[in-house]
């Protein structure tokens, strides 16, 4: 059996067409784009085309609003640090409790420097309270940074509406859209979003390339200085081949955006239905009615995620988990905690994330394996007995915690 890859929110396979587009920029057009000779004379044009493909995918007004970075994390850090440096008198930042660490860790570091960080909570379905958000907006706020879609549950935040509110209050708005770009249609020129982060490897481009979208006229301070590249907004010799690859990937993503929201979504829905019908005591986390089409995050109660992943891996299936034990830090998923998912379920969450490379046949293969994986581990669980959980599981098993 060939292995089944359902971990596309972690990273994706580079599309063959993307690799093919990149190769000449390693072997032939490898000159520095700043040089004036035949090894570089096609590069500037290539970069321009790539920029236009990114522009088309996110629907922004000008291609000069695209700044290539080394990754999504760099785009996020640049956006936050730029906002506070450009507005030195504003000492507050609004974000959410469920952001990616690339946002949360930067905010935490700024907190130590005296900034006030407002971390908006979410409800059990992972949704924000917009009334509470409105109350936080003020002249003291340098930046609102809110993810477009959550990497674990796929839950989509109303960033367009939130950007309108921020704009009305005179507050800059950034969104970490690394999970959303290429999966849902967007038209940035119709929004008030000032900055947006993209990560190439989430949409079949290689790792090591990202984008910061910067709306024309937005006050900005570069993170890296020392060169004229990206109009002086991001110094450092361009990663030309990767930029070309990202351009190609964006072109393909735009072509497939309908497929993503029909066929890919159908595969996700079929897996979800099959699992919840066959397996008792499991449930889908996040906002069921407002999610990315490719993502499902399912909590299997009374068992632990890493153990599930190890058994799935043995069966040739790749997924990921919000369990504490799968992260390098051992911290349980802050997203699951923020949604107040009970601990006996939060540890058993498995995220399946699809791409256009997956097939319905693969979904059926996973459905064949999943029930026995869950049953095997429940047999070992102190919360489980026979066909179901023990009566009052939380009372029947009360370990002393160290």
């Amino acid at each position: 059996m060939t292995a089944i890859y359902l971990d596309n929110n972690a990273t994706t396979k580079v599309d063959r067409a993307v690799v093919d587009a990149m190769i000449p920029y390693f072997l032939e057009q490898y000159g520095n784009p700043s040089s004036i000779h035949s090894f570089a004379d096609g590069v500037a044009k290539g970069l321009k085309h790539a920029r236009q493909h990114v522009q088309a995918l996110i629907g922004c007004e000008h291609d000069s609003e695209i700044i290539f970075t080394s990754c999504g994390t760099e785009a996020n850090t640049t956006a936050i640090l730029s906002a506070i440096k450009a507005q030195p008198n504003k000492k507050e930042i609004i974000t959410t409790t469920v952001e990616h660490p690339a946002i949360l860790a930067v905010c935490e570091a700024l907190e130590k420097d005296g900034y006030t960080i407002h971390r908006m909570p979410v409800d059990r379905a992972g949704r924000l309270n917009l009334d509470a958000y409105k109350k936080l907006l003020s002249d003291h706020v340098a930046l609102v940074t809110v993810m477009w879609a959550n990497n674990e549950t796929g839950t989509i935040f109303p960033v367009a509406a939130m950007a309108e509110l921020a704009h009305a209050a005179g507050v800059m708005f950034h969104t970490d859209a690394v999970q959303a770009v290429g999966k849902i249609p967007m038209m940035l020129q119709d929004t008030k979003i000032d900055m947006l982060s993209i990560s190439g490897h989430k949409l079949h481009a290689p790792k090591g390339i990202g984008v910061l979208y910067l709306r024309r006229g937005t006050r900005y301070r570069p993170l890296l200085r020392g060169g004229h590249q990206e109009r002086g907004r991001r110094a450092g010799t361009e990663n030309t081949a990767a930029i070309i690859g990202l351009g190609k990937a964006c072109e393909l993503a735009l072509e497939h955006i309908e497929y993503e929201n029909t066929h890919v979504k159908a595969m996700r829905d079929r897996l979800e239905r099959g699992i919840t019908e066959q397996i008792s005591h499991c449930f889908i986390t996040g906002d069921m009615n407002n999610r990315l089409p490719n993502t499902t995050d399912i909590a299997f109660e009374y068992i632990e995620g890493e153990a599930i992943l190890m058994l799935l891996n043995k069966a040739g299936i790749a997924a990921s988990s919000g369990s504490a034990c799968t992260s390098g830090s051992l911290e349980p998923s802050h997203v699951m905690r923020a949604m107040d998912i009970p601990y006996t379920a939060a540890h058993g969450t498995i995220r399946f994330s699809f791409s256009r490379y997956n097939t319905l046949h693969e979904v059926d293969e996973v459905l064949k394996v999943m029930p026995s994986v869950v049953a095997t581990l429940r047999k070992l669980s102190p919360y489980w007995e026979g066909e179901g959980p023990v009566v009052h599981p939380e009372q029947a098993f009360k370990p002393t915690f160290a």
């Binding site: 034990c325 939060a346 070992l380």
Partner: protein, 299 residues
């Protein structure tokens, strides 16, 4: 994914003694707060001989938690409960051919479940004797709680002090920022300010201990511990010899199959862990080959 040993995988994919023991007369239920894993260990103990006749586990946890539980039941079956009490978490980890530093707490959880079960058998109340925190130093598996306690107890001021007392930060050094944050926090609690430029305030080799051992007492105890470990080393065709003890540093020769073995560093770490547990003080175990450097520096 973690880089698990084949032994961990073997015990995870084919766990031994899964499920509760029928007619068990000892039960221990413990969990590890740092990852949410939890374990119920049930034992059938012969009341005359105090031999553990049967052991079973039920675990809510990750691959290494299940493997640690499984191997624990294999280790203790047939032991008397006094023998079983001498099983350390390092023994559990060694039987699994090692655990990633982030996962050592799974073996600690195993040992605690065992102690809890034996306390239960004896009609005693088991008190947890350690608290776990976020893992700070991945090279030596030292967590935040351990560092905080040492900073409090020994009036540590600098990262170098922390390294001298706990080993934390003595390896790849990438956790120094986190250690500084702990120093800052604890010193602030004491109403002091962390000085980034301060020189280490404590001599590196003689940390204070509450009941200091004389060197002779220390050497005797170290010999006892090494004797107790010798059978398992010899089973693998190796041996260990104590060469010298200077301050809190024990210099040893790994001989036989242990000499030059890839696992020697891990074995030494295991010996050190056991020594610290038995002696109740910080002991650094160093290959005797390192001693010549020390002497030449001193000369």
């Amino acid at each position: 994914m973690w880089d698990y040993s084949d032994k961990v995988k073997e015990h995870f994919f084919n766990p031994k003694n899964a499920g509760a023991v029928v007619n068990a007369n000892a039960t221990g239920e413990v969990g590890s707060i740092s990852c949410g894993d939890a374990l119920r260990l049930t034992l059938k103990v012969d009341e005359n001989t105090e031999i553990i006749l049967d052991a079973g586990f039920q675990t809510f946890g990750c691959g290494s938690a299940i493997a640690s539980s499984s191997v624990l039941t294999e280790i203790i079956k047939g032991m008397t409960i006094d023998e079983a009490l001498n099983v350390t978490n390092q023994d559990i980890a060694n039987h699994l051919e090692g655990l990633p530093p982030e996962k050592m707490h799974c073996s600690v959880m195993g040992r605690e479940a065992l102690h809890a079960a034996i306390a239960n058998y004896r009609g005693e109340e088991w008190q947890d004797d350690h608290e776990e925190g976020a893992l700070i130093c991945k090279c030596f598996a030292i967590d935040a709680v351990m560092i905080e306690e040492m900073v409090w107890a020994n009036k540590l001021r600098t990262v170098e002090d922390v390294t001298n007392f706990t080993k934390a930060g003595g390896g790849c050094a990438s956790c120094h920022e986190d250690i500084e944050a702990i120093l800052e926090k604890v010193l602030a609690e004491k109403g002091e300010k962390f000085d980034y430029d301060a020189a280490p305030t404590k001599p590196a080799v003689t940390p204070e201990v509450k009941l200091p051992l004389t060197n002779l007492q220390r050497i005797k105890k170290i010999e006892q511990v090494l004797d107790s470990l010798r059978p398992s080393l010899m089973a693998d065709g190796g041996d260990v010899e104590l060469v010298e003890v200077i301050g809190n540093t024990a210099y040893v020769n790994m001989t036989g199959a242990c000499n030059g073995c890839q696992m020697a560093a891990m074995t030494i770490a295991g010996i050190q862990q056991r020594l610290m547990e038995v002696l109740g003080e910080f002991i650094k175990v160093v290959p005797a080959s390192e001693m010549s450097k020390l002497v030449s520096i001193g000369a």
